[in-house]
């Protein structure tokens, strides 16, 4: 197992005094894909949103425990800086509709510093290539972002997140709004990205977790039930609750 990049340590997260996740501890290995699966309401979205401090942007939320990025507790750091190191891609593609493709990808660069035009151009091309979108948009990079299809928009959002050069990329059900072909492209992309980044993916699709993830965590009712190499979890899960869920006996 690769060394740990992101460590969740006894994390409990509240929405107004109600705990959405309780005492969760996981170590996500670097340069690998970790999936989080579980039935609706199990806390997987809450967990992932705690990993880049998006959870606290909702009113009346509270967090106990630690999340360590390379041994630094992200809750002791400036949240804005944390989110530059830990990026996120959302379930429904959300490009900035008022901006062009170029401006979308370069948003992080333009707003967080003032790199030269050449540097920005280079980053934009690189990010779009990493997101396997460059060939499809290189002729129309100033076109509005909304002119792209759903799957392309999602890849645009991935490129936008990558342009900020994060260390970790979080994906909250990245394919659930997409058709099967677009989904397949994103899954291939995920497999390529893990050579450079650490990825954590929430998915409700178990086959997808089995296809792309090296490690899988199963959550239920806010608790972590099991975490381990995906093959093991799907062939021979240790917990009977895990087995009941993945074989469709409940949820």
């Amino acid at each position: 197992m690769n060394p740990t990049k992101l460590k969740v340590d006894h994390l409990t997260a509240y929405y107004s005094e109600k705990a959405a996740i309780t005492d969760v501890s996981i170590e996500f290995p670097e340069r690998a894909v970790s999936a989080i699966i579980g039935p609706s309401g199990c806390g997987k979205s809450t967990l992932i949103r705690c990993l880049n401090r998006m959870h606290e942007t909702v009113v009346r939320t509270r967090v106990e425990g630690q999340v360590l990025l390379d041994s630094e507790d992200i809750y002791q750091l400036d949240p804005v800086r944390v989110r530059r190191r830990i990026g996120m891609v959302f379930q429904k593609p959300n490009p900035f509709v008022t901006m062009s493709i170029y401006n979308n990808v370069s948003a992080a660069l333009r707003f967080n510093g003032r790199p030269s035009r050449e540097e920005t151009d280079r980053q934009v091309v690189r990010s779009l290539q990493q997101a396997a979108l460059w060939d499809e948009v290189k002729e129309r990079i100033d076109a509005p972002a909304v002119s792209l299809s759903g799957g392309q928009q999602q890849r645009l959002c991935i490129a936008r997140a990558l342009a900020a050069e994060p260390e970790v990329l979080l994906m909250d059900e990245p394919c659930s709004a997409l058709d099967p072909i677009a989904t397949a492209k994103i899954e291939d992309l995920i497999k390529q990205l893990k050579t450079e980044y650490t990825l954590v993916i929430v998915t409700h699709n178990m086959q997808q977790a089995a296809r792309v993830a090296d490690y899988t965590a199963f959550m239920y009712l806010g608790k972590l039930i099991e975490f381990g190499p995906t093959e093991e979890l799907f062939e021979r899960p240790k917990d009977s609750l895990t087995e009941a869920y993945i074989t469709g006996r409940f949820g």
Binding site: N52, M54, T57, V59, V80, R81, V82, R83, R84, R85, G87, M88, F90, K92, N94, P95, F96, V97, T98, A107, A108, F111, N112, P144, A145, V146, S147, C157, R160, A161, A164
Partner: protein
Amino acid sequence: MRKFDRYARRKLLSRIIAVLTGLCVIAVLYPLVSIVYESFALGGAVLFQAQFLTTQAPNGCSVIACQTVGIGPAVQGTLIVVGLAAGISVPVGVLAAIFASEYRVRGLGRAVSFTADVLTGVPSIIMGAFIYGYFVIYDPQIALSFYTGALALSAIMIPIVVRTTEEALRVVPNSVREAAMALGISKWKATLRIVLVASLPGVATGVLLAVMRAAGEAAPLLFTLGYSTLWFTSLSHPGANLPILIYTFALSEYSNQVKVAWGATLFLLILILVVNVVSRLMIHRMRVRMGGI
């Protein structure tokens, strides 16, 4: 035979309702149409005289000399005072709206919204009287001036700008804010440069509404900007303006001045119409270029 009766009854009822609603439409449109028509009829001739916009009454207005035909100073005054008021109310209103909707500080945002709502209903003359009263006590020198006039108009414009900006911001989907935040863009930058930009058409419409309202209000200017027939001299003096000119000349005993009042009315109507149309076109183009929020 029974079914037939029911059917016939329904048709009759439909027809009656159609006629009634048609009559209501006429009732609603009649005042508008008649105002426009009367203005044209009574002021049209005056409008097309060459000196309409350029002359002013000579100093020391004698009975004869006061039969002036020009409204030039009034137009200038209106443009200045409305421009000044806009310069105050747009930044203040927009920032207040941003505060109310984006930064949830313990119900303060709701207080701002609520206040703005209430203020839109306050009669405008009270605004004028309040500003006048305040300055009469604290700084009587400029109690009647462009400054106080602009303040009075701002008091009317700000609530409108706040409410419409708030609505425009609310329409921007939360996914935009989340996306910006997830990229590590600080909240104020995201709000000003992404969210606000995305809501610009809505904000522009709100500003337009506020400006049009302010341009036509006479009551708040009554005690603040006051009455004058002179071209603009200084911001701390009272000045000419269209609404007050119309008010004054309409009550005059000189038929010429009454005609000028009608001409000014028509001019104001046309001005508002033109500004409206042009602004809406520009806003529409803005929307199209942004790809449709």
